[in-house]
């Protein structure tokens, strides 16, 4: 028999605390679709996606309804397209992106990730063709997402790729200038990209992954905040030990939801279950914000002194609670701090508590990086590359994933507002210190060598 507390608390999490499964992502290898004929390649890609994913949305909705937990997004992550379509040029790569878009539309998923490349040590011909195709591909498709891994702790930073990505981001912004540079929201530059991440825009199906696999991304900043509110209501000055325990327990509950639904969807589709990504993924609505947690814990806003310590505690406690709740964890697993997608973080920028420099400091202890950051449209490619280089260095040295999803919105200047819509939210354009020219630094090129893995300090 269930207890009163079990029933009431579950209902509260669902009704008032925005508990949901943020994404169920079907990871699908397309390596067996390889062909030197473009039409054959795209036909095989579409056929394989439809064969494997035609029931994904239906099954996710049925399982979500069975448990009363909404599955907000259903997505596809496919093999890195630069490896699969390496014999094609940039124009042909755009055609591949269009095929992915069509296939995604046919099976009804929100996004298809994997139009990307892994170039941490250098470019193959296919890598270069794909990266050059990104601006047009993201402008001409709705669902396709692109990720480029330019650094890793094992291989160092490919500074030529960093330089190139600054230009690609600028070109993507220009190609989608009529929709607030939305193309850039579908483009992420990574260090240490995880091969099994269910979240967009970075999800892709790693080469060591099975042919097809179900990965789940949970959410739950609202649930964590309410749990901390209850602790504070009982004792206005709890110790950090108690705060950490509360976050751990809550992360456990949230992760169990993802695990239960993910396994059932995988079983219904007769696919292996991969991982639960334990991330706290916010949405741009009140009560579902990572930023609001900082206020609960006594700070004026995220960005004020003390924020890095809180984020470190939050990120670690989520991993500890979640790891116990799931058989396999993976992906990014931690706290996201996407500026436009989180009401509390976005407001902290507007109120002047959070600037780009503090945001970068926070990325050293969060699970992603500079995420959904809108910057002035006239920010130079070299400055964007320099931002990427800094972020990649944090990831490389700290053996963690870092990423840059930055949006230079054409025609907008610092302090202007930009609305992306839906889960992508809105943001104030942040100030970028680009009066100090970065072109000479970025122009150096080459690679920053892999770091030494001993003598840690």
């Amino acid at each position: 028999m269930l207890t009163d507390r079990e029933v009431i608390s579950t209902l509260e999490m669902l009704k008032n605390e925005h508990l949901n499964v943020r994404s169920i992502t079907l990871g699908l290898s397309l390596m067996d679709c390889v062909s030197d004929d473009l039409n054959r390649l795209t036909a095989k890609i579409i056929k394989k996606i439809i064969t494997h994913a035609e029931d994904l949305v239906k099954v996710c909705d049925r399982v979500g309804s069975k448990y009363g937990i909404p599955v907000v997004n259903k997505r596809l992550a496919v093999s890195p397209m630069s490896a699969l379509a390496s014999s094609f040029n940039s124009d042909q790569m755009v055609k591949v992106a269009l095929a992915l878009d069509r296939a995604g539309e046919a099976v009804g998923v929100d996004f298809v990730g994997g139009f990307g490349a892994l170039v941490e040590k250098g470019f193959s011909k296919g890598d270069m063709a794909l990266i050059q195709a990104i601006p047009q591909a993201l402008a001409e498709t709705k669902r396709v997402c692109s990720s480029v891994n330019v650094a890793s702790s094992r291989d160092g930073i490919n500074m030529d790729a960093v330089a190139l990505m600054g230009e690609i981001i600028k070109r993507t912004a220009e190609a989608t200038c009529d929709i607030e540079a939305l193309g850039c929201a579908k483009l992420v530059t990574f260090a240490n990209i995880p091969p099994d991440m269910p979240f967009m825009a970075g999800a892709y199906q790693g080469l060591g992954e099975p042919d097809a696999v179900i990965n789940v991304g949970v959410s739950g900043p609202g649930v964590v905040k309410k749990a901390l509110d209850r602790v504070m209501a009982q004792d206005p000055r709890p110790k950090f030990d108690q705060i950490s325990e509360t976050i751990k327990r809550t992360a456990y509950k949230v992760t169990r939801v993802g695990e239960l639904l993910g396994r059932e969807v995988a079983a219904a589709l007769n696919l292996p279950f991969g991982v639960v990504d334990l991330s706290l993924a916010p949405t741009p609505q009140v009560g579902d914000s990572v930023g609001e947690i900082f206020q609960t814990l006594g700070l004026k806003a995220i960005g004020t002194p003390g924020s890095t310590a809180i984020l470190a505690l939050l990120n670690d406690a989520i991993k500890k609670g979640g790891a116990f709740a799931s058989g396999h964890v993976g992906g990014l697993s931690g706290a996201f701090i996407p500026v436009s997608e989180d009401l509390g973080i976005g407001q902290a920028v507007v109120d002047g508590y959070l600037n780009l420099e503090k945001l970068e400091a926070l990325t050293a202890v969060c699970s992603v990086g500079l995420d959904m950051v809108a910057v002035p449209g006239d920010t130079t490619a070299a400055t964007l590359s320099a931002l990427i280089a800094d972020e990649m260095a944090i990831g490389m040295i700290n053996h963690k994933t870092t990423a840059v999803r930055v949006i230079p919105v054409p025609g907008k200047k610092a302090g202007d507002k930009v609305h992306f819509g839906g889960l992508l939210g809105w943001a104030e354009i942040m100030v970028v210190a680009d009066y100090i020219e970065a072109a000479a630094f970025i122009g150096l090129g080459g690679r920053i060598p892999a770091p030494i893995h001993s003598l840690k300090n």
């Binding site: 207890t3 029933v7 009431i8 608390s9 579950t10 999490m13 069975k66 448990y67 009363g68 939801v257």
Partner: protein, 187 residues
């Protein structure tokens, strides 16, 4: 061996279990399962027992009456037969219906009526009163029904019928598989 169910009702106080179990032990009844609860200060207990074939249930009932009547307890003894061999075993899944809102007399008959029309068994039914809040006059309650739903039940139709019934009552309803409650709260 025979199975009997002994039901005891009365004002809750220390000593009821001792008093009842003493009589049952004197009659060599072996208690194998007990379920008890209190509501509004009243005790209700169900004792599932086995007993040997020579014991006369009328004697047991009379003695229980004698021993318990002065304490204001009432009792009912019933022999429970074995499950008929031809009874078809129905495969079911466990679901929970939760109804929230202002309590009203039609609530239980309306919801249970829908469940009964779908051949759904109610395993347990509980109601919890919530603290009253401003702008929500009247007693707010959460009522939850733990159900055994036959596997072949049309889930969508059941959900729709429950939703309609709850709407008619001006209440919120959810139908969820029981595993979600256990997954979140139990190790």
């Amino acid at each position: 061996m025979r199975n009997v169910l002994v039901t005891i009702l009365g004002r809750d106080r220390p000593g009821i279990i001792h008093q009842v179990s003493r009589v049952l032990a004197d009659f060599k009844l072996n208690v194998i399962e007990v379920s008890q609860t209190t509501l509004l200060g009243e005790f209700a207990g169900l004792f599932s027992c086995t007993l040997s074939s020579e014991i006369n249930l009328i004697d047991l009932t009379q003695l229980l009456d004698q021993k318990l009547e002065s304490s204001g307890l009432t009792q009912l003894v019933r022999e429970v037969g074995a499950v008929p061999e031809d009874q078809v075993e129905v495969t079911t899944e466990s679901y929970v219906v939760t109804v929230r809102g202002q309590g009203r007399p039609e609530l239980i008959p309306e919801i249970s009526g829908v469940l009964s029309s779908f051949e759904v068994n109610i395993d347990t039914l509980r109601a919890i009163s919530l603290p009253t809040v401003p702008y929500h006059p009247g007693q707010r309650i959460v009522m939850f029904f733990e159900l055994s739903v036959p596997r072949e039940t049309n889930q969508a139709a059941l959900r729709e019928a429950l939703k309609l019934a709850a709407k008619g009552l001006g209440m919120e309803m959810s139908l969820q598989h029981r595993n979600i409650f256990e997954a979140i709260h139990r190790l």
